[in-house]
């Protein structure tokens, strides 16, 4: 029941965005994925959600390969992601956005929807409940009917996270979830993630450049640089790794606890 990535290589024309990346994530793990800009973090997510075809390597999730999965089947496998640039449906309301996230919890298509038998109605109610739960979790229930446009950036980010939660994923890929968020919101979001992490077996991979956030939240951190994995381990170790410092951090964040109370 793990995510195993082995020898993953992605090329775009002449550019190699990922080179033989290996990564194993176990249930209940919360992994921080860091690396300089253009290191290939988003590309890794794109591979997992089947938006990019790897040139080589394998990806197994819960014992089955991901290679043959069509992009729209990824959610059905229990994988959800957020997008680095907002990827909301701006013509829909906030709730509808999140309900699309719960798409995989229903089965009815056009035909059934047209006549709307009891089964469909129950399903709709279930989807709505899932959506409302997710919205409640991020505190957006009161705004549920507002169109998902022209809201502050931070609010929209939360909608997106609620949408990913509505998938009820077993693997959650968060691509810079807190960029553009204010400090409070970061704290709240960290609490949310931590809570999820503690109460369920969900695997979470977070890409973030916000060091305090990542270092505090994730026990394990993976660092990519120019498509290669250069570090993988406990956060304390990784942040002192000279290669990581060199390529990414520049300085060691609070390397020495000496000055602390």
């Amino acid at each position: 029941m793990t995510l195993e990535i082995g020898g993953l290589t992605v090329r775009f024309g002449g550019v190699t965005a990922l080179t033989e990346v290996d990564l194993t994530v176990r249930p209940g793990e919360l992994v921080g994925l860091i690396g300089p800009n253009g290191a290939g973090k988003t590309t890794l997510f794109d591979c997992l959600t089947r938006r990019v075809e790897p040139a080589a390597g394998r990806m197994r999730f819960e014992g089955a390969g991901l290679e043959g999965t069509a992009p729209h089947e990824v959610a059905g496998r229990g994988i959800a992601r957020t997008f680095q640039q907002l990827g909301l449906f701006s013509g829909l309301s906030v709730r509808e956005n999140v309900m699309v996230g719960a798409h995989r919890h229903g089965r009815s298509g056009f035909g059934a929807a047209a006549i709307r038998p009891g089964r469909v109605r129950r399903e709709e109610r279930a989807i709505r409940r899932i959506a409302d739960e997710a919205l409640d979790r991020v505190g957006l229930l009161p705004l549920a009917d507002h169109p998902a446009v022209h809201l502050p950036h931070g609010t929209l980010k939360r909608v997106e996270i609620a949408r990913a939660l509505a998938v009820r994923p077993r693997l959650l890929l968060l691509d810079e979830p807190i960029s553009g968020l204010g400090h409070d919101e970061i704290a709240d979001f960290a609490r949310l993630v931590r809570d999820m992490h503690l109460t369920s077996d969900i695997m979470i991979i977070v890409v973030e450049h916000h060091m305090e956030f990542v270092m505090n939240l994730c026990e394990r951190i993976v660092c990519l640089d120019s498509g290669r994995k250069i570090a993988d381990g406990a956060s304390g170790r990784v942040r002192r790794d000279p290669r990581v410092i060199d390529a990414y951090l520049g300085v060691v964040p609070w390397a020495s606890p000496a000055g602390r109370p």
């Binding site: 775009f12 550019v15 860091i34 690396g35 300089p36 800009n37 253009g38 290191a39 973090k41 988003t42 590309t43 680095q84 640039q85 979790r137 991020v138 505190g139 957006l140 022209h150 809201l151 502050p152 950036h153 931070g154 609010t155 939360r158 810079e176 960029s179 553009g180 968020l181 204010g182 400090h183 409070d184 919101e185 704290a187 709240d188 979001f189 960290a190 609490r191 949310l192 931590r194 809570d195 450049h209 060091m211 305090e212 270092m215 505090n216 939240l217 026990e219 990414y248 951090l249 520049g250 300085v251 060691v252 964040p253 609070w254 390397a255 020495s256 606890p257 000055g259 602390r260 109370p261």
Partner: protein, 326 residues
């Protein structure tokens, strides 16, 4: 119009005019480089800016902070003409309000918007060339070299469509493109968003260098308050549609001030960013006069402590997030 709408703010560089003798030796004091008076705007019935006053001098970097949705982006959009405002915005004495964005841009205002408007189908190089299209062709090569030294990452991607860049690369391209026009005033909407720590630092170095050497005025909206505080000459807070100086309502970092929760609630200490490790660039990471308050982000413990309570959330206001997960 009078200024009861908000405190007239004069930053530390308020005595800027005296730096250069007024042209023609007239006794009239030169107006500030950028003077915003009672700027009001909104979307439809929603009023967002309710009388913003601001003065920025050449070469000065002003940070605008504020709560999510406070209207920081709207302020920049109003300055660059993307939304229509009322009041007055004078740039070196010329009124900008009412002018089209392109005319404002031609007067030397560069705006790197929140949405990172890069021209997705165009290559990186073409994007940069578009940025420089108003400049004499002879300087193109030099400007290009300059921007590529500022953002060396872009060099490897010159012929790649901008739409296929990574988030951070796009960000750098957007800023690079704005720099290509050699603006006099640069409006940056969360420039550090999506940038790696090292890249952020480099970016701010670059911005500082440009602002000091080329005397480019900058208004930058930032969420990373401490970063802004360290680089910017002044930090202002957007609050109920007005800009206020945090110092006036209470010193930065003083959690006692009510109603400005994002600003005061944020950990102002640079300790989070910079340990006592290699003090390689202390000037970068440590703004003058900013006491280190490293208690916020406990690097050692795994417990998320969060910022000190009290200042962050006004009493009686439920926090929107994570309520059931204490």
């Amino acid at each position: 119009m009078g200024e009861p709408g908000g405190p007239a703010v004069t930053g530390p560089a308020g005595d800027g005019p005296s730096r250069r003798p007024p042209a023609g030796g007239a006794p009239v004091p030169r107006p500030p480089f950028l003077r915003v008076r009672n700027l009001r705007t909104g979307y439809g019935p929603a009023r967002v800016l309710q009388g913003v006053d601001l003065e920025v001098e050449e070469g000065e970097m002003v940070a605008v902070l504020g709560q999510n949705g406070a209207g920081k982006t709207t302020l920049l959009r109003a300055l660059s003409g993307l939304v229509r405002g009322r009041g007055s915005v004078g740039l070196r004495g010329t009124e900008l309000l009412g002018r089209a964005p392109e005319e404002i841009a031609r007067r030397g205002v560069g705006h790197v918007p929140e949405g990172r408007g890069v021209f997705a189908p165009l290559t990186v190089e073409e994007n940069l060339r578009v940025g420089a299209h108003l400049r004499p062709g002879s300087e193109l090569a030099e400007d290009m070299r300059h921007v590529l030294t500022c953002f060396p990452v872009l060099r490897a991607h010159l012929s790649q469509p901008a739409g296929s860049l990574s988030g951070g690369e796009r960000q750098m391209l957007a800023i690079g493109r704005a720099l290509m026009a050699r603006p006099r005033l640069l409006l940056l909407d969360e420039p550090s968003r999506g940038l790696a720590p090292l890249a952020t630092r480099r970016l701010f170095d670059v911005l500082r260098a440009i602002s000091t050497h080329e005397r480019v005025a900058m208004i930058l909206v930032e969420q990373k308050t401490q970063l802004a505080a360290e680089f910017a000459a002044r930090s202002l807070v957007m609050e109920s549609g007005r800009l206020v100086t945090p110092g006036m309502a209470g010193p930065p970092g003083d959690p006692s001030t009510q109603g400005t929760r994002p600003w005061h609630g944020s950990p102002p200490g640079p300790g989070t960013w910079q340990g006592s490790g290699p003090p390689s660039t202390p000037d970068v990471w440590q703004g003058p006069g900013n006491p280190s308050t490293p208690d916020v982000w406990q690097g050692s413990g795994e417990v998320w402590q969060g910022p000190p309570s009290g200042g962050r959330s006004a009493p009686g206001r439920p926090r929107p997030w994570g309520r059931s997960h204490g």
